[in-house]
């Protein structure tokens, strides 16, 4: 902090403002799911929060018939996980669109299996809708090529850095694959007892499943004409399906360049006095 707070009228002005507050004064209210750091950095990046936006779907996940001695994708489950997330995301985007937002930052995607039904889960997407004070460089819009608000699961800090470096988020992209790894046959298991050996069948299954999830995510980014995807996370969830069935879920933010160079000011080095 270079400026002296008391010269800026702090906390004198703050106390005066509290004393002057009257019910119903504000013309437009916002709510935001961002932390204080994120809120201030999003403001500094030139965006105003418009409101918390949310989409949700309670979904019945269908029953999968399969041959359990074979490595295979469980299409019914893959489709359920994808479709329900898509429903939640789309509802969140519709809310943001109604607010006239340019985008949604800090999106969280959660799944919660419900206590009252073993195959019922709530899929929920929450984020903060934002609108820019200025149009994007070269008079372009911040919205994506489908004229929808951009979405991003980046934190406010990462969003600020991304915009500083001359990139704009286009949309969250995701791919999922629910995969069943074959149970070993009896004689295979007997042969391996007491030995340290690679199980090529398992290795290959995990490669296959991750590849499916990642290539689906890439296909979504290509549909948005993205230059690349940042902040990719590749997660695996067991959910409630037992040890041999796993969801591989890839998610990231597709970005486009705002300008040709991508320089940011050289950061200062600091030595924090805390852990």
């Amino acid at each position: 902090m270079t400026a002296d707070p008391t010269q800026l009228g702090i906390p004198e002005d703050a106390m005066r403002r509290l004393a002057e507050m009257r019910p119903g004064q504000a013309t437009s209210l916002f709510t935001s799911d961002l932390s204080v750091n994120e809120f201030l950095l999003v403001r500094e990046a030139g965006f105003r929060p418009l409101g918390l936006v949310l989409g949700s779907s309670i979904y019945h996940v269908g029953f999968q018939f399969g041959r359990w001695n074979k490595n295979q994708e469980l299409e019914v489950l893959s489709q359920a996980m994808y479709h329900a997330r898509e429903l939640a995301m789309t509802r969140m985007e519709v809310e943001a669109d109604q607010l006239g937002a340019d985008g949604i930052v800090g999106v969280r995607l959660d799944i919660e299996f419900k206590e009252f039904g073993s195959d019922l889960a709530e899929f929920i997407a929450v984020g903060t809708a934002v609108k820019s004070d200025h149009p994007a460089p070269e008079g372009r819009t911040w919205r994506n090529n489908r004229d929808q608000p951009f979405t991003s699961d980046l934190s406010g800090q990462d969003f600020w850095t991304l915009v500083q470096a001359g990139y704009a988020p286009l949309g969250m992209v995701m791919g999922t694959c629910v995969y069943h790894i074959a149970h070993q046959r009896f004689w295979q298991a007997m042969n391996n007892i007491g030995q340290n050996v690679e199980l090529p069948q398992f290795t290959e299954a995990l490669y296959d499943a991750r590849e499916l999830a990642m290539s689906r995510m890439q296909a979504e980014a290509e549909a948005l004409h993205a230059e690349g995807i940042v902040g990719v996370q590749l997660r695996s969830h067991g959910h409630r399906w037992g040890g041999h069935t796993t969801e591989f879920f890839a998610i990231g933010t597709a970005v486009r360049p705002l300008r040709a160079d991508h320089h940011i000011p050289t950061p200062q080095l600091v030595l924090p006095l805390t852990d």
Partner: protein, 296 residues
């Protein structure tokens, strides 16, 4: 344990006698206590606030699910059920339940504010809220935080309160924003499981969205958000930063072969107001790289 009779005599107005006695000692200038961490204390110092003392408010009440009839749809199973929420149907049978949750938090926070006002504080920062079950549908609602006094000539004429820790309050104030009040949005919704819903839940139904439950949670959350907006407007603030967005759902069986689902949504936030009216914030962030091992 010596003044049990005194506690029994308290009529529920103002503060319990022991709390009033502690506030009287604090106002007389006894040593102050605080819940602040070292960064929070340093942040408040920079923003121009001094700690005044630790304050709390608590309230214990019995909250029963009072409606014997559930959603009220018993008897006619063929009809399509409706979602009934506390915000849009204030006369619904379960309204006392929703009101009990609201008054639990409002009373606990109110008592905390009374303590802060009693020691001449201007606000309470870092408020922690908790709800604890004591069994038999008895719940304790608690709010505790650190009261602070501003180094200013103007007194705000109200006690501000916020869940934000001292360092976050400092960052907001230095950027031209002031926390005003803890604001809640609480809603309860109920919906009868009709024939359509029961079909969507059978294992042969395949991949399908359960429309009724989706509507129940969406309407209940929408109600909580609407009530929160009303609250922020009533405070006169410009917006709110949300602390938590909670939802719980459960099943009730008010009658033979009659199943309802209930959703309860609670949003906790701090209403904030802008006092710096220029376009640019007074402080600018520095980009820096901390010289420590990153976590991953």
């Amino acid at each position: 344990m010596t003044n049990v009779e005194g506690v029994a005599d308290w009529d529920g107005r103002g503060l319990p006698p022991v709390a009033a006695e502690r506030m009287r000692r604090a106002a007389e200038g006894a040593a102050w206590t605080s819940l602040l961490s070292a960064p929070a204390a340093a942040g408040l110092e920079v923003a121009g606030f001094d700690p005044a003392g630790e304050v709390m408010g608590s309230m214990v009440q019995r909250i029963g699910w009072s409606t014997y009839y559930g959603c009220g749809a018993s008897g006619w199973y063929g009809a399509r059920a409706q979602t009934i929420t506390s915000g849009r149907h204030p006369q619904a049978g379960f309204a006392p339940y929703a009101h009990a949750l609201e008054s639990g938090w409002a009373t606990a926070v109110g008592r905390m504010i009374t303590e802060a006002a009693g020691i001449g504080a201007d606000g309470v920062v870092g408020v922690r809220l908790s709800r604890q079950s004591l069994g038999n549908a008895v719940h304790e609602f608690t709010a505790m935080g650190t009261a602070v006094r501003a180094r200013s000539a103007t007194r705000p004429g109200r006690v501000f309160s916020t869940h934000l820790p001292g360092q976050d309050v400092a960052k907001l104030v230095l950027a031209g924003w002031m926390p005003a009040e803890l604001a809640f949005g609480i809603a309860v919704g109920i919906r009868h499981d009709d024939w359509n819903t029961r079909q969507q839940r059978t294992w042969t139904a395949g991949n399908v969205e359960v429309g009724a439950y989706t509507e129940l949670v969406n309407d209940t959350r929408a109600d909580a958000r609407m009530l929160l907006q009303h609250r922020i407007r009533a405070v006169g603030a410009d917006g709110a930063v949300i602390a938590s967005l909670g939802l719980s759902t459960w099943e009730i069986e008010p009658g033979e072969g009659h199943t309802d689902h209930v959703a309860e949504a609670t949003i906790v936030s701090t209403a904030i107001t802008q006092f710096h009216r220029s376009r640019e914030a007074p402080s600018r962030s520095l980009t820096y790289l901390p010289l420590k091992r990153s976590r991953s």
